[in-house]
């Protein structure tokens, strides 16, 4: 337990980045709930955290896992993840929002890696730590994610 920051300070330091990662995975509107669920799960497990220096990666890992759970739920309850209404007539959208929709449509490893690399500015080693992969796998997931996004947006 010694060496752990007060959790209030954890939220101060990393809360913004955790929220941004949440929004990258599930969209802006569902991000508040995903953020709450992530931070509450973290608070619950906090006294048992073994490496106080690895708080940020640990938080992102929890957020990533809970985002994946939301995607599974979205198969049954579409509002869980922000997706375009399939019945709607496609209208003009801000170009950025089209990109984020496609991010959410990526396979999970690419979706996570792309967000960790570009939204959170992690290097491949940092991404590997969050995703429990090797550094080369992290690099590949980022590369393939960006390539896939470009291909989908060029359609």
């Amino acid at each position: 337990m010694s060496g752990l920051l007060p959790f209030e300070r954890v939220v101060d330091r990393y809360g913004g980045d955790v929220w941004r990662f949440c929004a990258s995975q599930v969209g802006v509107d569902p991000a508040d709930d995903l953020f709450q669920d992530t931070m509450l799960a973290a608070l619950d497990a906090y006294p048992r955290l073994r490496d106080p220096n690895a708080v940020k990666a640990w938080l992102l890992r929890i957020a990533a896992r809970k985002a994946v759970d939301l995607f599974r739920t979205a198969a049954r309850a579409p509002a869980a993840v922000a997706d375009p209404d399939p019945g709607a007539v496609p209208g003009p959208q801000p170009p950025d929002e089209r990109l984020w929709e496609q991010v959410r449509a990526l396979p999970v490893k690419q979706r996570q890696a792309v967000a960790l690399r570009y939204v959170l500015d992690l290097d491949h080693a940092g991404i590997a730590t969050v995703m429990h992969t090797g550094t080369e796998a992290a690099r590949r997931n980022v590369f393939e994610g960006v390539r896939s996004l470009r291909a989908r947006l060029d359609d």
Partner: protein, 208 residues
């Protein structure tokens, strides 16, 4: 769209929540944490005639009260280390102690009705601090009498040390303890605050 465009757009958003959105999110998080039994220490600031205070409570009771001569970081770090790191700013959980303290400062309350958590004080120190509760509002005692009430009349310096490190001043009225020669003695919040608390308790008729 080129790869560069994709990367640039990814890097430019989403923006971190700020202002009222962030404040609401933080408050909701703290309240949910408290409601789900995940919050070991709730704290909140409050204003007072002695300057800003920080009050912290566990589910047992108020565990800490600090004046602003101690930084909130130092206070919270100590709580994280010695009580629990599951600490969040949760003003609603401190409503009752804050209200009673405000009444006390207005001269409307002479006795506190608040559970205390003695987690930060053990053994003889705790007995010394508990003994100060026997000194009535508006009265004073001295270090020797408090040491005696705590069961060790000779431990005057230890009593002084216990009082100087009182984690819950005002609620545990160590300010009512003076030296036997009548001089002020020490105080965690500094001599000025000790004097002002004694004047407050003696009432408006106090000539000093």
């Amino acid at each position: 769209m080129t790869d560069h465009d994709v990367e640039r757009t990814l890097a430019s958003g989403p923006q971190a929540p700020s202002g009222q959105h962030w404040a609401r999110l933080r408050a909701a998080l703290a309240e949910r944490a408290a409601g789900e039994g995940l919050l070991d220490v709730a704290y909140a600031p409050m204003d007072s005639p002695l300057g800003p205070l920080l009050v912290a409570a566990t589910t047992v009771g108020v565990v800490r009260l600090a004046f602003d001569n101690e930084t909130s970081d130092a206070v919270l770090d100590e709580l994280a280390l010695r009580v629990s790191p599951r600490i969040l700013s949760t003003p609603c959980r401190l409503d009752a102690p804050r209200r009673q303290l405000e009444e006390y400062f207005r001269g409307e309350r002479t006795q506190f009705d608040i559970p205390l958590d003695w987690a930060l004080t053990r053994g003889f120190r705790r007995q010394v601090l508990a003994a100060t509760a026997g000194i009535p509002y508006g009265a004073t005692g001295n270090y020797r009498s408090v040491a005696t009430a705590a069961g060790n009349p000779g431990a005057v310096r230890a009593a002084g040390s216990a009082l100087a490190t009182n984690p819950i001043p005002i609620l545990v009225p160590c300010h009512r303890v003076l030296r036997s020669d009548g001089t002020l003695g020490g105080y965690r919040g500094g001599p000025d605050r000790k004097t002002r608390l004694l004047h407050l308790e003696r009432g408006p008729t106090d000539p000093a």
